[in-house]
């Protein structure tokens, strides 16, 4: 499986990364180098095998814990916005969102 530069372009766009031309080229080579490792994995016969997400599910049932519906988080706006790049009147400012 080999990626092409248009693949790199498409993925960079999906990931919101502004790669320079040189970077894209390097990325292409390095990622294709990585995918060389991957072929053997793709060839493994996994028929009938269930995917494993939470690793401990290999030996016991792991299901979602449910919390009581109670408000326990107070207003912590000031601390939460301490590291915000741009804030006004409590709102996070961003370049205009056009719908």
């Amino acid at each position: 499986m080999s990626l092409s530069s248009s693949d790199i372009e498409r993925i960079a766009s999906l990931a919101r990364l502004d790669l320079s031309a040189g970077e894209s080229e390097r990325m292409l080579t390095q990622i294709n180098g990585f995918f060389g490792l991957v072929e053997r994995m793709r060839a493994v016969d996994t028929a009938g095998i269930e995917p494993l997400a939470h690793p401990v599910a290999a030996v016991q049932d792991v299901t979602l814990r449910l919390a009581e519906d109670r408000v326990t988080e107070p207003d912590n706006r000031e601390a939460n916005q301490k590291s915000a790049p741009a804030v006004e009147a409590g709102l996070f400012l961003v370049p205009k969102v056009i719908e």
Binding site: A53, E68, L93, V94
Partner: protein, 496 residues
């Protein structure tokens, strides 16, 4: 089910089951986002209360601060179970949360936690009357997901302000098959679904506050042809807008096709000011959400025990209650449906009947006089100034002849306008007691007859109008207190 109302089969056979528009069949499917009425968010314990100052109800988890993780709200799951039970759906014993990845400022994590391959609720139906026709819309699924924040554009030049208070509010996304065949049917579906989610208490239904938002998928086709390309109208948050938007969209699509243009798939927004739908700026890569099961959330397990406990605590559903009213009280399907618009309304009716009111009369008053006033004043039955017991008393006073229908309306007016709740006192105070004393009435009748020979002669000559004039005279002479039925009977017996 009769052919004309079995939308699915008719659809399969290419036959329309709704009114054609300019010869085209209309196909509509809905996706509804209902905000769940939990106190805290779906994955955090910040408050979901509406109207707070910006970002005062957005905790670290809601803001996607580094290191934060989601923890599931039991109340949201319980509400999903309630919906599934109300709609006759299958509730998945195991369902999975998935990440829907895309970038947008109101989506703090850069992904929305939703459900993809295995939703919590599968299948189900919503049934309702469209005029005389009984319609059933099939659901594909309903799944739990989190709401996004809000972008505010006013007050900022070239910028938008992001408020993440709403981010993380639990939603149920309810998806139908494309079973609807007209705007009217679509709006009726939305109203019925709205009624159900508020009835079972999982959503406050406040559309102005965004608690219930619908996306309509609309396409048109010539009968028998394959399905047309659909466009999606997003975020319709009033029934009126739904109707306007879908009507416009249908006409627009037909016009396009008639002009020889193909319909391109698009997401559109409705502009209430212009009454038109227009396509949104296309988001690049909008289609590749890279769904995968969220590794921060193990699968949601719902036991049969839990489902049974929820089932046991569910109220009687509106459709079942309506049917019961039809059976037990002989009400029409329409009236029964009207009375079961809300739990409060049905309760009011039940109380009136329990207090002795004849069900049909109570129904008439509630769906007529009371409904009119509630709509005009934009209040709910809970705020009605006249309680169920006084209504029942008033109805009884009509039945036993104490007041005429006319007089009763005056009494009701007085009660509604705050002149007390004691029906008899009001009747007394306004002197509206019907004259039931036959003796006194006979005297008035005789006096009137004595003074109205001309009318008598005309009546005897065959002019019915003359009779009504006599009735009118008697009513006038009795200052409206005479019982019209008795007046009729007396005059007829006098005149032969």
């Amino acid at each position: 089910m009769s052919e004309s109302v079995n939308t699915f089969e008719a659809q399969q056979q290419g036959r329309p089951t709704g009114p054609l528009v300019q010869g085209y069949e209309v196909i509509i499917g809905f996706e509804t986002h209902a905000q769940l009425s939990t106190a805290s968010k779906i994955f955090s314990r910040a408050s979901t209360a509406f109207g707070a100052e910006p970002n005062t109800q957005a905790c670290a988890v809601d803001l996607a601060l580094p290191g934060t993780l989601p923890v599931m709200n039991k109340g949201a799951v319980e509400r999903a179970i309630k919906l599934g039970l109300a709609l006759g759906s299958t509730i998945a014993p195991r369902s999975v949360f998935a990440r829907k990845n895309y970038f947008y400022p109101d989506l703090p994590k850069g992904y929305q936690i939703s459900q993809y391959e295995i939703p919590v609720v599968q299948g189900g139906t919503v049934s309702f009357y469209l005029g005389e026709e009984f319609k059933t819309v099939r659901l594909v699924r309903a799944h739990l997901e989190e709401d996004a924040g809000k972008s505010l554009h006013e007050n900022f030049v070239g910028q938008s302000g992001i408020d993440l208070n709403r981010a993380g509010t639990p939603l149920l996304e309810i998806v139908t098959e494309p079973d609807m065949r007209s705007t009217a049917e679509a709006v009726a579906y939305a109203k019925e679904l709205h009624k159900i989610v508020t009835w079972i208490g999982i959503c406050d239904g406040n559309m102005q506050e965004g608690s219930f938002r619908c996306d309509a998928n609309v396409s048109v086709r010539r009968p028998g042809q394959p399905l047309g390309t659909r466009r999606e109208i997003k975020n319709l948050n009033s029934f009126r807008f739904m109707q306007q938007a879908i009507d416009y969209e249908i006409r627009w699509q037909i016009e396009q096709l008639e002009d020889g243009h193909a319909i391109e798939q698009a997401t559109v927004l409705f502009d209430p000011d212009t009454g038109e739908t227009r396509a949104m700026r296309t988001k690049e890569d909008a289609a590749d959400y890279r769904y995968f099961p969220d590794p921060d959330l193990p699968p949601l397990a719902i036991s049969a025990d839990w489902i049974e406990r929820v089932r046991g605590a569910m109220p009687e559903l509106p459709r079942a209650m309506a049917e019961r009213y039809q059976q037990a009280h002989g009400l029409s399907a329409y009236d029964a449906t009207q009375l079961t618009q809300s739990v409060a309304l049905a309760r009011y009716f039940d109380e009136a009947v329990a207090a002795g009111a004849a069900p049909k009369l109570a129904s008439n008053w509630i769906t007529g006089e009371i409904a009119r006033r509630l709509n005009a004043q934009e209040i709910g039955i809970e705020a009605a100034p006249v309680g169920a017991a006084p209504l029942a008393r008033l109805i009884a006073r009509i039945a036993d002849g104490t007041v005429s229908n006319n007089a009763a309306r005056q009494v009701f007016d007085a009660l509604w306008n705050g002149e007390g709740q004691d029906v008899d006192a009001v009747i007394e105070a306004k002197g509206l007691k019907q004259m039931n004393d036959t003796g006194a009435l006979e005297k008035i009748v005789d006096e009137v007859l004595a003074k109205n020979q001309k009318n008598i002669d005309e009546y005897r000559a065959g002019k019915d109008k003359a009779f009504n004039a006599l009735v009118g005279q008697v009513m006038k002479a009795s200052a409206g207190k005479a019982n019209p039925a008795q007046v009729n009977a007396l005059l007829k017996s006098r005149l032969g």
